[in-house]
């Protein structure tokens, strides 16, 4: 394929566009509410009404407001139907000619939609994820062509450094720096890996991106591979996401057929292949060294760094590892320029971030906002606040590695540094809202149980520490603990945090520490008085041991 073919294909797609498009959400959330049946009925209703020439029924990716699914949107009328059933389908088609639809509607200009700023999700809910032509019609693969024919790998890395993108997997490492390190590493073979092992419970951004716009991730990976000099890529995706896996398989096959993956892409000397690796349910595999062990078919246990993957990673070769959302940002950055991207967001955190809003909140779903947006705006204005008039108590970000941000800190802008100062992390983007009925000690215990189960067992602080911390939290929750136990818990948190081998152990105490910091009264209320009196100095404890 050459550029002319690409442009021709794009124009052909745009010319073939019918007057009216009914977009029907075909992401996993809506599929579980029978959106497939809705789509079939819509197609039948269009055929029955003899409107095939004017109306296209298109299966698209996530339309963001997951709690109201299945969603159907009618363009250009701008109607957005919610909780559509197959029975509603004929009336939706009738409504195109001025009838009344029996399905409920929501305002597509509501703050939840209007306040979003889409880069990663720009194609989500618009293009058909199972047709590469649909992605090409939305300017897809243009950035790859431009990069391959008009830029040297060095310039590609420089652009990435200039745009200021930081890793969206959680840690926020500057992407350009990572690319530069891998590009400089010497090695006959290099690899690019996409981390789609979205293990944080409560996060579903990566799943949605893969289901809604898989080609943007493939294009991003290809650009990265060109920049660092790799010819083989892997996408490590969770087995729990069967739909994402099948969409990726379709996307890879289509891209290969069109010559956009494989040998001699766009008639340049650049070769790039992508293979899928299916995870098997281990949270620790989100850690980069553990993930690479898993790609090699081994137990997913992390190893000490250095050497960093950029120097010695998969099969001992220099490896570039980025998250799904990071790669999905890449094509747009090269299409619109580094300056355009760098103008969005805050000084240190550029661009946008996708969040998966869930929990005790009115509007659950996906939202993408510029970095630095205050949490209050996301939760109260866009999310609609707690349902049934409850009050928001805390927002949990970063999953089992993050923390709970209490309601009084809701005005915090969302960026890497501000969340870090509150003892939480940006994480991959899961945002769980808790209302006043949520018991924070229970939440700390829930996350500790998770970390205990998911600890790989390689290093002792994490393997044994999480068990002991879980035991202490159990004791506190069942009202059997004394202030001494709480002190012990805090000491253990500190120890596990500072001595564990990988990120799992180092961050496992975070939910406990942050709930202790902001909701200590809930812990105190559960404590029993110490039978030996207050233990300020530890003397009482020593005395107890001596008498035993």
């Amino acid at each position: 394929m050459i550029l002319n073919d690409l442009i021709l294909l794009k124009e052909k797609q745009q010319a073939a566009r019918k007057k009216i498009v009914l977009r029907c959400c075909m992401a996993a959330g809506c599929m579980s509410s029978d959106s497939k049946g809705v789509k079939e009925r819509l197609e039948k209703a269009v055929a029955d009404a003899g409107l095939q020439q004017e109306v296209e029924v298109r299966g698209v990716g996530c339309m963001k407001l997951c709690c109201e699914g299945p969603l159907v949107a009618a363009d250009p009328q701008g109607a957005l139907y919610v909780r559509v059933t197959a029975e509603n389908a004929p009336s939706i088609v009738a409504a195109l000619n001025g009838g009344r639809a029996s399905a409920g509607q929501t305002d597509p200009q509501a703050p939840f939609f209007a306040q979003q700023f889409s880069i990663v999700l720009a194609n989500s809910g618009v293009v058909d994820p199972e047709r590469i032509e649909s992605y090409i019609a939305a300017d897809g693969y243009q950035a790859l062509h431009e990069v391959l024919h008009e830029m040297t790998p060095k310039e590609v890395v420089e652009t990435m450094v200039k745009c200021g993108l930081r890793g969206r997997g959680g840690a926020g490492f500057p992407t350009g720096l990572k690319w530069g390190t891998v590009a400089k590493s010497s090695g006959t073979r290099k690899y690019v890996i996409c981390n789609a092992d979205e293990g944080d419970p409560g996060a579903f951004m990566d799943r949605s991106v893969l289901e809604s716009d898989p080609h943007s991730v493939l294009e991003g990976m290809a650009i990265a591979a060109y920049a660092v000099g790799a010819d083989q890529g892997f996408i490590y995706v969770r087995a729990e996401y069967p739909l994402a896996i099948s969409r990726l398989q379709v996307a890879i096959k289509q891209a290969k057929q069109m010559g956009l993956l494989g040998a001699g892409i766009f008639e340049s000397p650049f070769n790039f292949n992508v293979d899928l690796r299916i995870g098997a349910g281990a949270f620790v595999c989100g850690e980069e060294t553990a993930l690479m062990a898993s790609v090699e078919g081994k137990r997913g246990t992390p190893r000490p760094r250095p050497p960093f993957p950029a120097e010695s990673g998969l099969f001992g070769c220099p490896t570039l590892l980025n998250n799904v959302e990071t790669f999905a940002n890449v094509p747009t950055i090269y299409r619109k320029g580094a300056d355009w991207f760098a103008a969005i967001g805050t000084e240190k955190s550029k661009g946008t971030k996708v969040f998966a809003l869930a929990g005790k909140i009115k509007n659950t779903g996906l939202l993408e906002v510029p970095m630095g947006t205050p949490l209050r705006k996301i939760v109260e204005e866009m999310g609609g606040g707690a349902p049934d008039g409850g009050a928001i108590k805390a927002v949990q970000t970063g999953g089992p590695s993050g923390g709970c941000i209490p309601a009084q800190h809701l005005d915090t802008p969302v960026d890497y540094e501000s969340l870090g100062r509150l003892g939480s992390i940006m994480g991959s983007g899961g945002m769980i809202v808790m209302d006043d009925s949520t018991n924070m000690v229970e939440i700390a215990r829930f996350f500790m149980e998770f970390c205990m189960d998911e600890s790989c067992g390689k290093c002792i602080p994490c393997r044994a520490g999480t068990v002991q911390m879980h035991h202490l939290l159990n004791k506190i929750a069942s009202r059997q603990a004394t202030p001494r136990d709480l002190k012990k818990l805090e000491e253990l948190c500190d120890l596990v945090r500072n001595t564990s081998l990988c990120g799992l152990g180092q961050t496992a105490p975070n939910p406990t520490l942050s709930t202790l910091r902001f909701f200590r009264n809930e812990y105190d209320a559960l404590l029993q008085p110490d039978p030996h009196g207050p233990d300020r100095t530890g003397h009482a404890h020593k005395h107890e041991l001596a008498t035993k």
Partner: protein, 175 residues
């Protein structure tokens, strides 16, 4: 590898291979390994396929994989036990997977589990005595927008309640 294997195990491997030659599923599995050129780093892919074909990974099956990929049995067993997705015991006729991700948890997924455990005497991760129901928990199936989510025999169901879960299971039990 066979040279350093103790005698009783050698016998067992021969028995496994003899048994495998009469079962079509082993042929499909071997074709899958061939597709991956018997590469040792394809172990997880091979185990996925094995579980898909056999439902669970019994010891002899793991031994078969280890012989074919020329890996020590300890390595295959180590990988199979490391990942939650691989089942080493037979599963019940029906599987009910309750998502225990954070969003589902704060919306009451634990109450769904408690209700099923109380009525059907089966704890998470176990299969009922009559082998009809397996109750499993998932870490997060990424369906947080429709929490709490329950997967009945592979079908994701949104906004579940203890009542709706018990009703579905009772329907299975009636058949």
């Amino acid at each position: 590898m066979n040279a350093c294997v103790a005698k009783p195990q050698k016998k067992r491997i021969q028995a496994v291979l003899a048994h495998a030659s009469g079962d079509k599923r082993f042929k499909i599995l071997e074709a899958h390994m061939k597709k991956h050129q018997y590469r040792q780093d394809a172990l997880i892919e091979v185990l996925h396929k094995a579980q898909e074909l056999f439902g669970y990974l019994e010891d002899d099956l793991l031994l078969f994989v280890s012989v074919k990929l020329k890996l020590p049995p300890s390595r295959v067993y180590g990988v199979a036990t490391f990942y939650h997705f691989f089942q080493l015991k037979p599963q019940g006729e029906h599987a009910c997977v309750v998502c225990m991700g954070t969003a589902c948890y704060v919306k009451g997924a634990d109450k769904i589990i408690d209700a099923i455990t109380a009525q059907h005497k089966v704890r998470p991760g176990e299969t009922s005595a009559d082998n009809r129901l397996s109750l499993l928990t998932a870490r997060c199936i990424g369906a947080c927008g429709i929490a709490p989510a329950v997967v009945y025999d592979g079908t994701v169901t949104p906004r579940a309640t203890p009542e709706s879960a018990l009703e579905q299971i009772n329907q299975w039990m009636k058949k």
